[in-house]
Amino acid sequence: MQFRGKQVVAASGAVAAAIALAACSSSSSSSSSAPSSAAASTPAAASTSASASTASGTISGAGSTFQTNFQQGVISAFKSVDSGITVNYNPVGSGTGRSDLYANTVLYAGSDSAIPAKEAGKVPAGKTVLYFPVQIGPIAIAYNVSGVSDLKLDATVLAGIFSGKITTWNDPAIKALNTGASLPSSSINLEVRSDSSGTTANFSQYLVDAAGSSWTLGTSSIISFPKSAHANSGGSAVAAAVKATSDSIGYVDFSTATATSLTSASIKNSAGDYVAPSSASAAAASTHVTPKADLTFLTVDEPGATSYPITYQSWDLVYAKQPNANDAALLQAYLGYLLGAGQSLLTPLNLAPLPASIDAAAKAQLSKITS
């Protein structure tokens, strides 16, 4: 193959340079590409409640994947409120988020659980961690059984299904709760998580609390489900698997279940009522929560007739003492927005905003971020 030397080299060099130049030049111009409609969904209240702070700079957070949609939405909306502050969020998982915080590589960590006891030693000496509750959301039990559209389950039966003791859909235990439904005799295809996740941690926490001795697999961000269960990496993969496999059942956070158009079961709560997962039923559950002084709490298995029992929560963890005043101001501005106008972004995402009392307490805690 003869290449017409110089011309071809020049041409390809020009092509490569053009692409690089275009990319660089558009990045240096202000982010004027299409005002995001996320801003449109933010009610007008956004501009009135948050005052543009005088601080400017970049803050980075990392952690819980449960918070991904919310953080992305808030970051996007916050830009139009205060364009001097750039916020980044990296959904690497609650554990890595906390590790990043201990290592001081991020300013805030998203975590679906409080710092576990075995990590207590990792917090640098002299540093206090502040918990800012961020969002509440339901964990849906999604299923795909033809002919069944209103499945009712309770903690004991769920424990049986997910530990492999109940293996067919027409098992007497399931039938007892669903007298009107025609359940097939096929075996249950179990879809679970293979990767570590806050969803697994909180779902298993619910089973420990509500199913008692029927659940023997404990609670952790990774559970050793029975071998017959099909493990998937990531919540969306579980959802996709349930959608694609007939006679399957799996646990996945409600926003993902809705986005994948899955049917979710109604679960019996501690008041004895069968409640379907929704933003409202999760919010109802959260009204019964009394947080501890440091604002940690669990929303699983809350009382109340309309409460959804498998509800969980997430926090942003921040050090009380920041290395410099600018970082403290940036955090206060961003978290203030997130706890204020940002909360209105939650319901459209099929999550629930914080109950008023917890939200107020969190906002009051903002002043504890000092330098």
Partner: protein
């Protein structure tokens, strides 16, 4: 007495029966193998183009804001990831290629039989098998953490990719150096050249086509890696064109985090990013082929 009579005539120009069939079968199998590798390549390219083409637009490639996953196509774009990938890969290449070539030169030309050179050569072989995520963790421990808040950056990602590319470039260069015939070196020494001169003006140029293609495969591999960047570059929602400060993102990172998302907008963006990434890699390859064609001194 002549012994000719009942001997069968053997045609010495053509191999007979079974030998010939073996030859044909072997050739047939070789072509079959080629067909076999066409299948996955064709399928993957087809999928990526089919799913990614609708996302591609000038705004997609250069838009500096990455929209939230729930947003459909049409808003913002992957400019942040394109810039990130180009910058991170370029810096990694600038670091790894000279270092790798020099390392291989040391092992082959200067090290000789000494234990040090053998150790490096051995370690380079071993390193090819290290999971890419471990490289990322290494850089996270020794580079990102000591720097605290300014640790996550494009540069940290480049360092992780350099660790990944080094053993590959060393290997490829070493193999090429090994194949340069000794008589070339000897002839140069005989003319009075110093060792460095021989290496730079005779040995390396005659090996350059293999070195370039080996380096480019390494660069293309680095451009497509996700795991080493997980703990080193962080993530961003808008373009950060400074690779030395502040977190950034990359095309593979975006592909990985988006494509499994349940939201169609995110999925479409992921496939668009995959198409972009493959196009970048292909351009790299094209440039390499041209360079090789221009500079190959010893045609095979």
């Amino acid at each position: 007495m002549a012994v000719v009579s009942n001997q069968p005539t053997i045609d010495l120009r053509e191999p007979g029966g079974w030998r010939r069939s073996k030859n044909q079968i072997a050739t047939g199998l070789m072509w079959f193998a080629f067909a076999v590798i066409l299948v996955p390549l064709g399928l993957v390219i087809y999928e990526v183009i089919a799913k990614g083409a609708k996302a591609i637009s000038w705004q997609f490639l250069t838009g500096s804001t990455i929209p939230p996953n729930v947003m459909p196509l049409g808003q913002g774009g992957m400019g942040a990831a394109v810039v990130g990938t180009l910058e991170i890969t370029a810096i990694a290449a600038v670091l790894a290629v000279p270092l790798g070539i020099l390392g291989a030169v040391y092992i082959h030309e200067y090290g000789g039989r000494n234990w040090f050179a053998k150790l490096i050569s051995f370690m380079a072989d071993v390193m090819v098998g290290v999971p890419s995520i471990v490289m990322g963790l290494f850089i996270f421990t020794v580079w990102v953490i000591p720097r605290g808040l300014s640790g996550l950056s494009g540069l940290a990602g480049s360092l992780a990719l350099t660790c990944l590319m080094l053993p590959l470039i060393i290997r490829a260069t070493f193999e090429m150096l090994r194949l340069v015939p000794n008589h070339l070196r000897e002839a140069s020494y005989a003319l009075g050249a110093t060792k460095s001169r021989v290496t730079l003006t005779v040995v390396l140029p005659s090996a350059v086509s293999g070195i370039v293609s080996g380096s480019l495969l390494a660069i293309a591999r680095a451009a497509g890696e996700t795991a080493p960047l997980l703990f080193t570059i962080g993530a961003v929602e808008s373009t950060n064109s400074n690779p030395f400060s502040g977190p950034t993102t990359s095309l593979p990172s975006q592909i990985f985090s988006n494509a499994l998302s349940p939201y169609t907008g995110a999925q479409d963006r992921a496939w668009g990013a995959a198409l972009t990434l493959i196009a970048i890699a292909f351009i790299l390859l094209f440039v390499a082929r041209i360079v090789t064609a221009r500079f190959t001194r010893y045609a095979r």
